[in-house]
Symmetry: C3
Subunit: 155 residues, 3 copies
């Protein structure tokens, strides 16, 4: 029951976040983050601060004429006033310079904390799963795929 209510609140935080991203509104997007949020958009490059994140996202958004971020597969593990959250996002983008589409499949691995009545993001990790088409300005290492993907050898 409690899990249900928290899961709903956390999903709605992401829904708000992506609505604002798709509105080209980084200031609005980061409303769901705490001020000293830690984030990792490029794997291994950890940074801190909501304002810094907003500027960073703003520069990324400057590349697109439009975007549409579709959230699915949200998984919440409650731990007291905290939550460990996994979610999938498929994102459609139309590039500003070429007018061409660019598709991204990614996973988020975020930490949330209950602050009074709201669930806020305290840590945001974005893991690129893959993208189409390949963009020369983005190294393939940004799309490492599923973290912990097993290496079963085909027979």
């Amino acid at each position: 029951m409690e899990e249900l209510i928290a899961t709903h609140a956390i999903e709605q935080a992401f829904v708000h976040y992506f609505d604002r991203i798709d509105a080209n509104d980084p200031e609005g997007a980061v409303e769901v983050m705490v001020e000293d949020v830690e984030f990792e958009i490029m794997i291994g490059k950890r940074k801190q601060g909501r304002d810094r994140f907003a500027r960073s996202v703003g520069r990324v958004l400057d590349q697109y004429e439009r975007t549409s971020h579709h959230l699915t597969n949200v998984k919440v593990r409650l731990e007291g006033d905290g939550a460990d959250v996994l979610a999938y996002v498929y994102a459609y983008h139309r590039m500003r310079n070429t007018g061409e589409p660019w598709h991204l499949w990614a996973r988020m691995h975020d930490q949330f904390r209950r602050v009074e009545d709201r669930w806020m993001i305290t840590e945001h990790i974005l893991l690129g799963l893959d993208a189409q088409p390949n963009r020369p300005d983005i190294p393939r290492s940004w799309y490492p795929g599923h973290p912990g993907r097993l290496d079963r050898t085909p027979l």
Copy 2:
């Protein structure tokens, strides 16, 4: 709690709607709408009536051999017995005439009203975000993008 139950019911109304759309069954789809529903599928062209909507959707569906409508990012704001609802849909279509795929990213902005035990659509606005590939029979103005997208000028 109440919000959770209403949100679930509203999501399920959309799930039913799209199941029937993908079944090429416009009559079944409109079961979640009130008889005098207002709708706007082309921006600025407001029309009225569930039967009219069904005929209109039927003509659109005639163009496709198959469709698959994937609902995400549902956001419900309850106001008594009404609800203001935003949702994303990504729709895959296979064109009947060419056999080629056509992809649509769109947003719905709907009004719901509780009628006895059910949540029904009283107003349905479909906003095209973008589509691929461009179709000569659809003017680009049908995909205005995110309503209220900010015009931050890149530095």
Copy 3:
């Protein structure tokens, strides 16, 4: 209320399943199935057994370098300790041999049973809706489209 809790648990079973599929971990994926699960991945070819299913899925996954399965449109009909469940999945794949993307739109029609505190899959039917691009190794009959799609004749 009870429906809400069951729906959430069932969605989470799928979310776990696809997380493990995308991790190339068929053993982990089938944890949400009962041991004598019945399954139908190719229409009309019914088989039985969780281990057999895991091996079967493993052979399919061997073809891909990475996958991303996005779950939407989950519809749960409770019947006592059982549930009849429909869901959509859009799946992105990167082929191991060619490096090319392959997209699948599908529906699941599953039966769940409450086993103590968990909801487990007792029957799993995967219905291909369509795929892009066409693969010479997969007959088009694997993508029959929406089951029960109406054949309204366009005027």
